[in-house]
Symmetry: C2
Subunit: 751 residues, 2 copies
């Protein structure tokens, strides 16, 4: 067995102290000379024609410098949400930016925004899935999505017998299916069939730090430098450059430390702000208010899922038929993997899964931790539990019996790569909380479990590596550190070089200084950047050994790196510290070329991560309140590079899973107004409802291509929580809750 | 003959437009939130004991936040000028910082500085070379240089017959010699001997932008980020880290666009400001005033040079004896190469050259364009001219006859590498200005020539190279662009890759984002970084071809890069633009690893550059004014990568050469006070005295190891100007001027 000296040891994130002492500068903390503060004027209607915008009142506010509307901006086809910019003629959701006020200070910008008068002619809006799918529903995009080719639009049309249906405009923006075997026969084979409709709510990512950006326009090139709280600096660079009409090299994106993102911070208002800053010729800062986050942000879609799951008496699954309908708001949203995942977790010979994505007059949806996985897992794992109950089988054994293993086929017919679904279930089976479930039941509690997985992302990634004169190894990557990945990469670099982890600096560079690193999303930074870092570090190591070899007139093969020094094996006085060696590569008297390694990586095989959870709950029969007493989180992480970082991900994901299960829902009234405009109306789990009751178990099934076997860990722990809690509620009360969140009202109503 | 598509073509610097439109942000333009403005309180005495510093009056000024003295700073051995920080007990030059006032705005800082009362007890000061060398001279460092070992100090002691003289403290801080052959015999062999004493003045680099720095302290690590106008970010990083007592990795130096440096901006007050910012916990900005530049800056040393140069009747040089004495102010200064260069330009069998560096109670000297070369070249080339006159030989032919060539020995006994001294002289010989010198004489003008060379610098250097999604090649280096080197490197990269130069971006990164690049000084950025850039670009090119080969299922050897696209030779429709190829290496759908090249370089062979100049002058017999009518600058640049950039260097150097020749002198009164505290008293050449009269000729003798043969070009053109003008004055008037600058008073006095 390989012995590691760095990975697997606990390392606290080097930026932690700055964060807890308030020293970290987040995007909202940044200031530039001549900077203007922006405030959005947002639509009061879900659907309306803009008759007139009167900016006189706003302009009369002292310190207000400009009020911009779509008229002042170039006309750009709004083919996606971040190109919607400011509303032109029509608004399609309540909260849509209609104008933007710029002022010398934030208070004036806010005053100004309140004084912009917009005269609307309200139009009928389809706010719910039902309304949007109705025959004569008003269309979000009556002429089709702007700037998208007819061919691409057809892709979203219904397909029947392999032929596209006759095209008729509707609010449906995507339809696709997965099928396998013979669904009718499969259902007929089943001894028991569970059929249910499940729904999930729109949920906001609810990071503490709102969207925040600061744009410095470059008036000569037409480009810009943008400091922004984002997961994807290179994506923003690409889009901003396209919208400004300049080469990407004229745009520089500096990803600032992120105060929470969870999928919601890829790109949003950066292109608008870049245009605005170019227009006014001054730096522009926009930090969303919580209300703006709630009405003008990009939450998750709501979903309605009808499942029919059949099994034979022995628990063998025979068929899964499903119709998933996602309410994505005013733009398509990348949740198409929902149907794929639903059909992939278990070995089911007969599948018939349909996915329909529907546009509504609401703000568009975006990713939220495990996008497209949380919803179908809630449905599937609830159905699995009910099936076990009806068959009087052990629900864990039922899952183990049917669980997919590496090589088994996923819904798309491709084989699962290395993954640990069964190992995770087995680890949960061995856990005291499962073993002692009868004691919990005796105490009036219910115990439920669920499992879910995330397929893992892949993306090209690169890294560079330098040896500094202080003997520290500097690794530069182009991705932001969302979740402590930089700490894990430091451990990986230390392991690959053979040095102490605290002598490694991982720099999350900006788009002008770092090689491409990929977006921090999809549970893939460690998985994709890890190998690039290893390669860069090993190159640097080779160079270091070559220099030392020349210095000692020795063979590089006879050298070793011990305690920050290169030494000739067996000749202790032939030793040079990395600091002195680096010193010989810098400065006028330098004897050797500087140490510079580079790593480039792409692996198209992803690293799926499975997480099983067990919830132990008590239900207050009087109030309907579900109180979680214990939440066990078991996850396959491939290799735990930095255990505290992984525990942080597991706990954070599970806490958010509890939010999905019990608390979080964006509510809209019938006209499409958001009713949950602040954290007074929108509930997230509190500390006493979460962290203290979570127990975590790490399982390590090495990912074949992962750095030291590591696989992505961010997404999995949010996936099964809602189903585990629902199953525990059913166990405690006999009531099957099918709608998220499971609020006390719903629990009582289910009684 | 190789045909080049990029190098040798003229390219204007991409940052030129920003500079001429005032868009560039220089260090003085930067602001940070909570920033404090610093002002120095400077010593009124050249030598004094500090009895008391009363800060009460300053602290009473509204907006003054703090007044710091040495007491508030850690005690650090002031072993060099930038560690002198604030005076502790004693001041050793008029202008030395004694205290530092911090205020919310610059006006308050200035008011505060004026209200700090320092009570001095004046002490006797040695201000001139004569005073400093006198028997009982007051010593600048009575106990030796602080923090320097006794051994190192002994290095500066006089050496006699190979044995160090008995050590006695003096103001002499360096002595060394070069000798060859038998000087007595050599002088005896000579038919003619010229013996003279020459002097040069202290000169200020007189950049337009003064020293300017802004420090953001990192209160957690104890480190800092410093934006500063510097030639040497990595050097500052090293020193600041040492002084703050933190690893270098905790210090980040961002070299801002430089508004002139010329050797004077390696490092000065950055360490002091870093300590001050740490002390007060806020960002601190210091922009020197012109007066502070003049009294607290780091000008060039003054020199006194006694030469005896002998030759046979046929012009063969037989002996050179010389004593060079440099007045470097209160610290040693790197001008030791003066003696080396003096003995290297010509093949002289018998040499005896002594260099003595003397400390005086004045601000310490630093480098100024071709440090240590301008002074001896003035002496040597004046003597050569006088020798030619006395021997009635053609002064150009005399030089050609004795000029060193590659392989000839330099003063240190090592052979000259490839260089073009003779070729430069030959090109000047062919120039109309030399051919038609009799016409000029007939018009009452004098014609003089001189030649000088710069040995060239070497330093390790590295570069990285990325391919951006817009098809642009991004080259990152850790050096600042002082003189348009980034433009030349863009041409080099374009040539190496095979693409249009305007598709190359050269990024001058900061010390945390770029690999080590070396200081921008010594005429070596293009020479040392060029090969690193070529290597990095070629690596990237190989990767690009490999990707295209995989895309086309072709052999990389069958591919070519034409017009920004990779194509299969002879198969025009198998072509992919660099932009689309790069697109395949970035983003979620990426098919290939990102393109990342890296280059590492060190070559210990330097690239000497020679420059010959011809001056045509008229001397006003009434006023003594020397009016230059024509200045021909002929220079060996190895290979002219970017001709306009090179012409800029040649012209700029020659203009500064005219300043040395005719105008520039820092004057001190007998107490050591600077009399030339502004550009009212200190004269630099005006536009009508310079640019319009300069003619330039490029000679290309390829440097063996230079990128495409290029050699350093920055330093040479300042070197021979003063001698050329002096020789022209002698030609016009018969008067031999031996003291720089040749002011009207001196011209009249020589009459």
């Amino acid at each position: 067995m390989t012995t590691y000296t760095a990975i697997g040891r606990s390392m606290l994130p080097p930026d932690g102290r700055a964060k807890v002492t308030g020293t970290t500068r987040f995007a909202p903390d940044l200031r530039l000379p001549e900077m203007l503060h922006a405030r959005l004027v947002i639509s009061a209607h879900a659907h309306a024609r803009i008759v007139e915008i009167n900016t006189a009142g706003a302009l009369a506010v002292p310190s207000v410098v400009a009020v911009l509307t779509a008229q002042e901006l170039p006309e750009i086809a709004p083919k996606n949400r971040f190109r919607l910019l400011l509303a032109r003629e029509r608004v399609i959701f309540a909260g849509q930016p209609v104008a933007l006020v710029l002022a010398e200070n934030e208070a004036a910008a806010m005053d100004g925004a309140e004084r912009v008068q917009v005269n609307y002619e309200p139009l009928p809006a389809a706010v719910t899935l039902e309304q949007a799918l109705a025959g004569e529903a008003p269309l979000v995009w009556p002429a089709g999505l702007p700037g998208v080719t007819a061919e691409a639009q057809a892709h979203g049309a219904a397909v029947k017998d392999g032929q596209p249906e006759e095209q008729k405009r509707s609010n449906v923006c995507d339809r696709h299916s997965f099928s396998r075997g013979d669904i009718t026969a499969g259902l007929a084979e089943a001894d028991v069939i569970v059929e249910r409709v499940y729904t999930t709510s729109r949920v906001h990512q609810s990071y503490i730090e709102p969207h925040a950006s600061l744009v410095q326009p470059d008036l000569l090139t037409g480009g810009a430098t943008i400091w922004t709280s984002t997961q994807a600096p290179f994506w923003i660079r690409e889009e901003v450059a396209a919208i400004l009409g300049v080469p990407e090299s004229d745009v520089r994106i500096v990803g600032t430390p992120v105060g929470g993102a969870f999928g919601g911070k890829f790109i949003l208002y950066e292109p608008l702000l870049a245009l605005v800053a170019q227009r006014v010729g001054r730096p522009v800062r926009l930090v969303l208010t919580r209300l703006e986050e709630m009405v003008a942000g990009i939450p998750t879609p709501a979903s309605r899922m009808r499942l029919k799951l059949g099994a034979r008496r022995d628990g063998t699954l025979t068929a899964l038929a499903a119709e998933l309908t996602f309410d994505v708001g005013c733009y398509p949203s990348p949740h198409a993997n929902a149907a794929f995942l639903l059909g992939s977790f278990y070995n089911i010979p007969n599948l018939d899964i349909h996915y329909t994505e529907v546009l509504t007059f609401k703000h568009s949806a975006a990713a939220y931790r495990a996008p497209g996985a949380t919803q179908p897992t809630f449905a599937l794992e609830s159905a699995m539990d009910e099936l076990a109950h009806q068959l009087a089988l052990d629900p864990l054994a039922l899952r183990l019996k049917n669980a997919a293993a590496p090589g088994d086929l996923m819904a798309d017919g491709k084989p699962w790569p290395s993954m640990g679904m069964s190992q995770v279930l087995a680890a949960l089976q061995a856990h005291p909380a499962w073993q002692e479930r009868e004691q919990a039941r005796a105490a009036g509690r219910g115990v439920g479990l669920a499992i879910g997985g995330w397929p893992g992302g892949t993306e090209p990634a690169a890294a560079t590596c330098l040896l500094n004169r202080d003997g520290q190894l500097q690794v530069t990557i182009g991705s932001v550190d969302l979740t402590g990945t930089a700490t894990g990469l430091a451990l990986i670099a230390a392991e690959a070089f053979g040095m102490a982890p605290d002598k490694v600096r991982v720099i999350n560079g900006d788009t002008a200084s770092a090689p491409f690193g990929g977006a921090a999303g999809g549970s893939k930074i460690t998985y994709t950047l890890g190998p690039a870092v290893i390669q860069a570090v090993r190159e640097a190591r080779t160079q270091v050994l070559e220099i030392a070899a020349e210095e000692f007139e020795a063979d590089p093969a006879d050298l070793e790196i011990v305690d920050g020094a290169v030494q000739v094996r067996g000749v202790p006085d032939k030793s040079i510290t990395l600091a002195s060696l680096a010193g010989k590569t810098m400065g006028f008297g330098g004897k050797y070329a500087p140490v510079v390694g580079r790593g480039r990586h792409l692996d198209k095989t992803a690293s799926p991560g499975f997480c099983a959870q067990l919830a132990e709950v008590a239900v207050d029969e009087e109030t309907g309140e579900v109180r979680v007493h214990r939440l066990v989180v078991v996850q396959d992480v491939g290799r735990a590079i930095n255990p505290p970082g992984i525990y942080g991900q597991m706990m954070g994901g599970a806490v958010q899973g509890l939010g999905l299960a019990l608390y979080e829902r964006m509510a809209y009234d019938e006209s499409g107004q958001v009713l949950t405009g602040s954290w007074m109306e929108y509930t997230v789990p509190h500390a006493d409802q979460a962290a203290s009751l979570i127990e975590m178990v790490i399982v390590e099934v090495p990912a074949e291509h992962g750095p030291f076997g590591a696989r992505g860990v961010g997404e999995p722990p949010i996936i099964p929580t809602a189903a585990a809690v629902a199953n525990a509620v059913a166990d405690a009360t006999g009531r099957r809750l099918t709608d998220l969140p499971m609020t006390p009202e719903r629990v009582l109503a289910a009684g």
